[in-house]
Symmetry: C2
């Protein structure tokens, strides 16, 4: 067996590390890219290089962005005083796709977990408390996944902020054990509209 | 709804065009890449740029390579006089993974098809005929997919080369309607060993 050109093999190995792709689908994707190397592979390489150089976390909300503050934090049309707390950026994107939320976000970047040794500081909860004062927040919507760790985290945040802001969570409608990023936009939108006080 | 940063959105749109990825898996892949932007996204961008700039078709066999001739055509350990004819580079890679074939390849880049208006010239069949003379080929193994177009093409090539070389095809063992790239290595290897004269 003769090895393929090392540059192509390296590319296949890297692509196989992406979620949802294995060695076989990575080979198919690379073959497709090589066939469309003018149209797609070159532009894709450039887009990746640009994102690799410019992508960073929004210093305010934790969203992925290319500036210091993300487009949501700087958008003057977004409603002030309302923060939606999510586990990760994928969940923020899922909320945004519904178009149902007009406030701003706070991305925890995970959940409280005794097992993984993640504490309030790692989740930026002191930063959340500062935002509530600085941005005159009156409502915090907890849009965490309904997993055990998500529920634990929701209770912790609710206790932490009790008496300082209105605290709500997404309504029943999010299936127990379900992850936000896998839900259809309608379900998320309906759950947001029917959100209840904790 | 506030649009995500355009560089990230562009990247998601491009990734969604890869086979096996849709919008949802493209978002997950990009999110994963952004999280690993130092470790994976930067190197992946560089690997893609290199392949985009250097990848080309081997002038002899049609394999994808980074030089004028591919590593298989230039490998002195490969057996002379034996050519394996495949539809595309994915099939060549599938054959190579079995480690069962020691000769060289000829990639047609498709099949004869009345519908798509693909003729012998488009498939490089005159080039195949020249190779048979120039490289003193004594056996041509037809390893085409067992689809209607693949079978039509195999018959055409067999007629074209009749009396000039031994012409064999992969043995029964390749399921009818099956595509080489989806088979396990053992099946392909066994079919190659039990190849029969046409
Ligand atoms: Zn932000
Ligand atoms: Zn070659």
């Amino acid at each position: 067996m003769t090895k393929p050109s090392s540059a192509i093999e390296t590319l296949i190995d890297m692509m196989a590390r992406l979620p949802g792709l294995g060695p076989r689908s990575a080979r198919r994707a690379v073959l497709y890219l090589v066939r469309k190397r003018g149209q797609l592979l070159g532009p894709l390489a450039a887009a990746m290089a640009e994102v690799a150089q410019t992508a960073r976390e929004c210093v305010s909300c934790g969203n992925i962005t290319t500036g210091e503050l993300c487009p949501i934090c700087t958008d003057p049309r977004r409603q002030n005083g309302m923060l939606c707390v999510v586990e990760d950026v994928g969940d923020l994107w899922a909320m945004e796709r519904t178009g149902a939320f007009v406030g701003r976000y706070h991305v925890l970047g995970g959940t409280l977990s005794a097992l993984d040794d993640v504490g309030p500081e790692e989740l930026g909860l002191p930063r959340l408390e500062r935002r509530i004062t600085d941005e005159n927040v009156t409502e915090v919507i907890l849009a965490l996944n309904t997993t055990m760790d998500g529920l634990t985290t929701a209770h912790y945040v609710a206790d932490l902020l009790e008496g300082r802001v209105r605290i709500t969570s997404l309504a029943q409608g999010v299936p127990v054990g379900g992850e936000l990023d896998y839900l259809d936009d309608g379900t998320i939108g309906a759950a947001l509209k029917a959100r209840r006080d904790l």
